[in-house]
């Protein structure tokens, strides 16, 4: 454990304080009054002093504390559970989580639904970014396609919730392919910019095509039903009210409880599918494409098809998430599909660990539940968020959970 000399730490701390002063001085030190301004010296000096102290303390810590804690490569590991064990475990876990419905308030159910939607989005983007290595900044576009697909599908075609789920997956998958075509030859930064544009195009179309999408006013999305049962006080879609069938007291949380249960099942199935993908030929092909496209072609893999299938698979998961979003909100408008959402989902994937399915779940839960727990600090949400991100990237540059490669045992041993 090497310790850096105190004098040098002092110098670096002063330097950091100076930079802070320059950066935050004008922001916190100048108070505008109409066309005039007054200066306030206390605030910037306080901030700078805080940075000075923190930097000094950080400098005194042993260097190894600040070093990354993750190895470059982790050993591959054989799956520890048999398929039937996984299925049983999944069922038990589902029942345990589903029973939360009985205790949770409507507020926490809504929070839980949003958390699960982000898990779903994270799993979808993980296919594109984590497996196939295609940096997609417009993922929110597919989320919007799914949400609007449900709302508009109901408005124009009378589609119900259950029909909307597979159709939205298909529709978003098609959009994924459409996006995929022009960007086939792009990598890295270029791809990121084009996909960013794609996400914005979808949002702008939704915002400006008044006649079809209702523009900024948004569209109503119907509440889901289950075999004709409706979870509303009064039926609106020609079914029967759920609470009357079962002789229950009506409560407004029933709808959320229902959506939560269905969404939980969908997340579970998606989770299972995505985690299996890695060991399947298509998942391997995506990863190989990320590693070396030329080598893939030399082995007879159709790189165009492989890439498009990754886009389509990720997009259709995003589309399904969109349906649940629309159903739980009862209303969609373009505001919900800003670039910030894409950034948030990307943050989930990167924080969780590229390609790591369980990491994505942890990160999604962290990033959606943390703001609810820290309600008092609502103003500092993004700040805390950024801080957590920086810390995790320092200590675990490969994400909270680093993905392990699957282990392949020699047959018959």
């Amino acid at each position: 454990m090497s310790r850096r000399p105190v004098s040098r730490t002092m110098l670096l701390s002063l330097f950091a304080a100076l930079i802070t002063l320059i950066l935050t001085g004008p922001l916190s030190g100048l108070v505008l009054n109409g066309y005039d301004f007054t200066t306030r010296f206390a605030a910037p000096l306080q901030i700078a002093a805080m940075v000075l102290i923190l930097r000094f303390i950080a400098g005194l810590l042993p260097a190894s504390w600040l070093a990354p804690k993750q190895k470059h490569e982790v050993e591959p590991r054989a799956p520890r559970f048999k398929t039937y064990q996984l299925v049983l475990g999944g069922l038990v876990l589902y029942l345990a989580l589903a029973s939360l419905v009985l205790f949770a308030s409507k507020y926490w159910l809504a929070v839980g639904i949003m958390a699960l939607i982000y898990v779903l989005l994270g799993l979808g983007l993980n296919v594109v970014v984590g497996f196939a290595g295609l940096l997609d900044l417009g993922f929110v576009g597919f989320y919007a396609v799914g949400a609007y697909g449900y709302a508009l599908g109901h408005q124009y075609l009378g589609l119900g919730f259950w029909a909307a789920i597979p159709l939205a997956a298909l529709l978003a998958g098609m959009f994924g392919m459409i996006l995929g075509f022009p960007v086939l030859r792009m990598h890295g930064d270029y791809l990121a910019i084009v996909t960013l544009g794609f996400g914005e195009i979808i949002r702008l179309v939704l915002n400006n095509w008044m006649a079809f999408t209702g523009g900024p006013n948004g569209v109503d999305a119907p509440a889901p039903t289950f075999f004709g049962w409706e979870f509303k006080a009064n039926v609106t879609q020609g079914g029967v009210p759920f609470h009357e069938v079962w002789g229950l007291e009506y409560s407004s949380g029933m709808l959320d409880a229902f959506i939560f249960l269905v969404l939980l099942a969908v997340v579970g199935l998606t989770l299972y599918a995505v985690s299996r993908l890695r060991g399947m030929p298509i998942g391997r092909a995506w990863e190989a494409l990320r590693e070396d496209e030329i080598a893939c072609r030399s082995l007879g893999l159709n790189h165009v098809w492989t890439k498009l299938s990754a886009f389509a698979m990720g997009a259709s998961i995003g589309g399904v998430a969109g349906v649940f979003f629309a159903a739980s909100q009862g209303f969609v408008s373009p505001i919900s599909f800003s670039f910030f959402e894409s950034a948030l989902v990307l943050a989930i994937v990167v924080l969780g660990g590229l390609g790591s399915v369980y990491g994505v779940i942890l990160a999604a839960l962290f990033l959606t539940l943390m703001p609810e727990v820290l309600r008092e600090f609502a103003d500092y949400r993004i700040l805390i968020f950024g801080f957590a991100m920086v810390l995790i990237m320092i200590w675990r540059p490969r994400g909270i959970i680093q993905q392990r490669r699957p282990f392949f045992k020699r047959a018959g041993s």
Binding site: P76, D292, L299, G300, W305
Partner: protein
């Protein structure tokens, strides 16, 4: 002996550089043919044409497959001509969209690269599994549900991968990342990976580059095994003359994009033009 591969007057220019100038050669089935020549002679470019990474601007590359002949250049599509009719035009359009390189590989031409191209972050055995992609059960549903047909196909691929790992002596490193292997092991793994697509012809681009003498000896044994045991035809670019002379049945010498000599190792060694190209003696 029938020839498996026939190049008929292949030409390729990069701007002003004539990288290949009317190269014609025939590769006999089940033989080892070496392509030699000084740096920049166009050897790798020739490989890129054969394996579909470049499209030869003139000439034909014919691969004999049982009774059928495939023109590898035509597999890559090309400019659409109206006179050819809509069907051929559509086919060329689709080829143009997807690129035809993978079709060349599927028709039985495998290759390795001068600067190794393994899937470095993936494990050794995964590298071999990807090469078998086309032979696997790729049904998504079968994979998600782990149906018996899918399990069988994966098990078969795994068995084949381990078989090749034993051949190249990497069985113990099966689950370590390919990028962490030593240079010599990476070269051999790349050959095994190319062999896993079940090729008829395998093109090795400087397989001995960077190997020590012992590894080079092992390599020459491996290359001969590919021909004798696995019945593939080998086309190899190599600068190591003692290796070339000891393994090849036939040698083609390239210089400035032209074939300047071909024949058995003895004939080529005695050819004055080859000596001139390598040693730079006075031109007549």
């Amino acid at each position: 002996m029938t020839s498996l591969l026939k190049l008929e007057a292949i030409s390729l220019r990069f701007g002003g550089i004539i990288a290949l100038n009317k190269v014609s050669l025939a590769v006999a089935e089940n033989s080892i043919t070496a392509i030699i020549g000084p740096n920049g002679a166009g050897k790798t470019t020739l490989f890129n044409c054969i394996t579909g990474f470049y499209r030869a601007q003139e000439g034909r590359i014919l691969l004999q497959k049982e009774q059928k002949q495939t023109d590898l250049v035509a597999l890559l599509g090309g400019s659409i001509k109206f006179s050819e009719g809509p069907l051929k035009g559509l086919r060329k359009f689709i080829y143009g969209l997807f690129g035809g390189t993978h079709l060349v590989a599927r028709s039985g031409v495998a290759r390795t690269f001068q600067n190794i191209r393994l899937f470095a972050e993936m494990t050794v055995v995964e590298n071999l599994l990807i090469a078998q992609h086309r032979q696997l059960n790729r049904n998504l549903l079968a994979g998600f549900l782990n149906l018996p047909g899918y399990r069988k196909s994966e098990a078969r691929a795994l068995a084949k991968a381990y078989e090749w790992l034993d051949i190249i002596g990497l069985g113990a490193l099966a689950n370590s990342p390919a990028g962490a292997l030593s240079y010599g092991n990476q070269r051999r793994l790349e050959i095994a990976r190319a062999m896993c697509i079940n090729p008829r012809l395998i093109c090795l681009d400087e397989p001995a580059a960077g190997l020590n003498p012992r590894e080079t000896d092992e390599l020459s044994v491996l290359i001969k095994r590919l021909r004798d045991e696995f019945h593939v035809t080998v086309l190899v670019i190599e600068h190591d003359m003692s290796l070339v002379m000891s393994i090849s049945d036939h040698i083609v010498v390239l210089n400035y994009g032209e074939v300047i000599a071909k024949g058995s190792p003895k004939e080529v060694q005695a050819d004055p033009r080859v000596l001139a190209a390598y040693l730079g003696t006075d031109e007549e």
